[in-house]
């Protein structure tokens, strides 16, 4: 790993976290280079939040080791905290404090120099300067998210940990948010972000897919479909619901998913998939195109393929 030009910002191996007898994170490794936008994908309860919390010292791993920003994640979490901006999944600033008071509080907690200017500047950039005396609890979801991001950027962190930052935020606000993330990344800030949204996943440089505590795939976003090796047919035409019903369950077809006015039919074995699809291609009402699988098909595939290790344990 040392051949890399710069030392990675996050470098952990074998992280394990158990809550009771449930293994929430199982043998997790990750290597995040400086300035990268690293996406964490996976279904609910897959251990994304737990992993992020272990990286910033909010949870103690049961096993594993590693470094974050050059500090040991087990023993130097105080140093890590000084340089990390962590945005929680749920809004966790003080709702009974005003916008300015919240920013001021966070600036003091990180001992930010020139606090007043920094807070003023943040308010200005947020576009909240004239509402700075409003209590944070009165803000809408999108504004809360922007405030939370501004609050964790005040101390100029080297690493941003964003836990589903755009959940429940409208598309325009999400787009603005990602523009900001991209700007930060260009400025050298490393960003680790967990998300459910495929359009956001595509924005990431690298993607780690986690399901039920295990990392299933990890690589550059462009290469993920290739790495998985999924084949897809796209079909357009009338009465797609019946066609989907007919196709579903055929040998070689692992997944039939509706994408707007088209169906995407995917399978791992290209030959079997073609054999399954061919009889239907005679119907001239439909137009069929073979295409490389997109990220979304890949993730639906991964999600349906991964087993629930909690359920598995019960059966065993």
């Amino acid at each position: 790993m040392t051949q890399e030009t710069a030392t990675p910002v996050i470098e952990v191996e074998g992280l394990v976290k158990k809550f009771g007898d449930k293994t929430v994170v199982d043998q997790f490794d990750i290597n995040v280079p400086k300035g990268a936008i690293y996406g964490f994908l996976g279904p609910n309860g897959s251990g994304k939040t737990t992993t992020i919390r272990m990286l910033c010292g909010l949870l103690t791993p049961d096993a594993g080791s590693g470094r974050c920003l050059g500090y040991d994640i087990l023993r130097q979490s105080d140093n890590i905290k000084e340089h990390v901006g962590y945005m929680t999944q749920k809004f966790s600033l003080y709702e009974d404090l005003t916008i300015r008071e919240n920013l001021d509080f966070m600036a003091r907690m990180y001992r930010v120099p020139d606090r007043k200017q920094k807070v003023d500047k943040a308010l200005e950039e947020l576009g909240l300067a004239n509402r700075s005396h409003q209590q944070a609890g009165e803000l809408s979801g999108g504004w809360k998210q922007r405030l939370a991001l501004a609050a964790c950027l005040l101390h100029g962190p080297d690493l941003l940990l964003l836990d589903e930052p755009t959940a429940g935020v409208d598309p325009k606000a999400r787009r603005d948010f990602w523009d900001e993330i991209r700007r930060l990344s260009d400025a050298g800030v490393t960003v680790l972000v967990s998300t459910h949204y495929m359009d956001e996943a595509i924005q990431c440089d690298n993607i780690a897919y986690i399901a039920y505590g295990k990392k299933l795939i990890d690589g550059p976003a462009r290469k993920i479909p290739e790495m998985v090796g999924l084949n897809t047919w796209r079909v357009e035409g009338p009465d797609l619901a019946n066609l989907a019903a007919d196709l579903e369950g055929s040998d070689g077809i692992e997944q039939v998913a509706r994408f707007g006015s088209a169906l995407h039919i995917s399978g791992m074995d290209a030959k079997k998939l073609d054999n399954a699809v061919n009889p239907f291609r005679k119907d001239k009402r439909y137009t069929w195109t073979s295409k490389p699988a997109g990220l979304e098909e890949v993730f639906i595939h991964l999600m349906s393929g991964s087993t629930d290790n909690f359920a598995e344990k019960k059966a065993a």
Binding site: L58, L59, K81, K90, S92, E101, R108, Q135
Partner: protein, 376 residues
Amino acid sequence: MAFSTSRFLAILMKEFIQMRRDRMTFAMMIAIPIMQLMLFGFAINSDPRHLPTLVEVHDSGPFVRRFLAAMETSTYFDIRGTVAGSRDVDRVLKAGNANFVVTIPENFERDIIRGEKPVLLVAADASDPSTSGSATSALSVLAQNTINSLATGPLSYLASTPDAFSVVAHARYNPAAITSYNIVPGLLAVIISMTMVMITAIAIVRESERGTMETLLATPARAPEVMLGKIIPYVFIGYVQTCVFFILAFWVFAVPFAGPITPFIIGLNIFIIVNLALGFLFSTIAGNQMQAMQMSFFYMLPSILLSGFMFPFAAMPGWAQTIGLVIPSTHFMRILRKIMLKGADLPDIVPDLRALLIILAAVSILAMLRYKRTLD
């Protein structure tokens, strides 16, 4: 990586702002001392007077008349009428129509004059001992007074007859036996411990419940910064409560403050901090605000019953005294009574201060150890 004043101040100021915005809690903090003082000071009176009394008369004469008159003037007894026969006596006592029934035996007057020391029977409803206690003890004194006032002329020999029932009540520091003098100072300890423990326990658990604890823990804040920053704003609440308490204690109950003020202030500060630390400790155990509340109430019970507030400490069994000694209120109660009623100075309260400091050290260490800097 030492203590950061900036972070400590940040938490301190945040707490003040939140306290100011939470008007309901603030109002409660002021209302609780007023309500408790009124309830304990007025409604709960362990030296009750004007207790309903009935008389079973089998004889009458100057001694009987004088004795009954003395009972009424003592204000302990309100003579409401007469009863006929011992079955009636049982009935009125059982029904609670009267707390006392005085039975004047036959030939009472004659036997006194003959020097035969007749027995005057008083049946008291002792189901609440504190109700009947002082009134009963007053009876023998009243009897002696009656004899003395009539032992003139030909009956003067009665004055020298020894009366086995005479009790000399000698109440130091509170000669008038006004209960509120004893109850009211102790109330300050009860009010402070009740509100301080609960409010800190809740204030910290609230952070976990609202999710803001995650933000706080993600910052580099250290345990002492958080603990002090969270505790100190409530010290001021304690001061406000103390002021409200004294305004009422002086104006409404005219309770004396015999001793100097400095040792009192030292004791007050230590006591407030002990209770806040205790609340902090509770908050590290409780999972939600409801549990924090329940734990505070659970703590209230022994701190009222075993601290010497309700019952004399010396009269409690050994095990209860041992529990009582661990409770901070016990020691502050002693400080309050010593200073306010007995005029004690600093040297007199040193043992109590020492006990409070030991409890403070133990509670703080436990709280810091239990305070988790992770979400585990």
